[in-house]
Assembly symmetry: C2
Homo-oligomer: 107 residues x 2
DNA sequence: GAAATCAATAACCCGTTGGCTATGGATTGA
DNA sequence: TCAATCCATAGCCAACGGGTTATTGATTTC
């Protein structure tokens, strides 16, 4: 039911939340305040998103004084990659566009 | 805002809907009736999910008499693969677990 | 010590979503 | 032709999710 795939897809489905994660991937560790500046939503909203991301294992937090630094955890994306590969595997060579996808996955 | 990634993640975030897509990947083309048998929800619910999947380009439909056959379109997963690779790219070699993810992506 | 800053939580609001039943249009079969 | 089947749509409802403001606890700064 609520397996790892569910958690990942649900967590990444919201554009605001995904943007926060993308920012952490691009620019590395950042405080809640820094993230709030660019998020376009209020600080509590950002904190809530970070909480969801953390629960999905997509971010880590590090407390330093009164501020909290968050950083992306790329490894948490593994189930997503696995799922995609599994779906591709089921298809085997059933359709032509499979090749395109496989090419894409092999860099 | 509502770009390709959004559509994909949102569409795949629902477990029932994702299960339908997975089934189409595993077992190939199927009618709405066949899918309804295993979906655990009503036929209208299945039709609605198929509509969402179709809008995301994840399935195709083929009408044959009074029944409609649906099949998965693996190519539609490409943006998801690209996004994952992009996130991984941003990280470059910043953390150790990146290697694990890259290994996983290269089969 | 008092004031200000940072981030998390609480409480609330509202739009979206996923489910249902009911219905209808199209096709098949008797 | 009439009944039955298949699927899509409509209409409704309850639950969930993401946003807000208000508040509080910690920490820093003056």
């Amino acid at each position: 039911m609520t397996d790892a795939h569910d958690l990942l897809f649900k967590t990444l489905a919201d554009p605001t939340r995904r943007a926060i994660f993308e920012r952490l991937c691009r620019s590395g560790e950042q405080t809640v305040g820094a993230l709030t500046t660019h998020a376009g939503v209020s600080q509590p909203a950002v904190s809530k998103h970070l909480g969801v991301l953390k629960q999905a294992g997509l971010v880590r937090d590090r407390h330093e004084g009164r501020q909290t630094h968050y950083s992306a955890q790329l490894g948490a994306l593994a189930p997503l990659v696995d799922w995609t590969k599994e779906m591709a595997g089921f298809w085997e060579s059933r359709f032509d566009d499979l090749e395109d996808l496989l090419k894409r996955m092999d860099q």
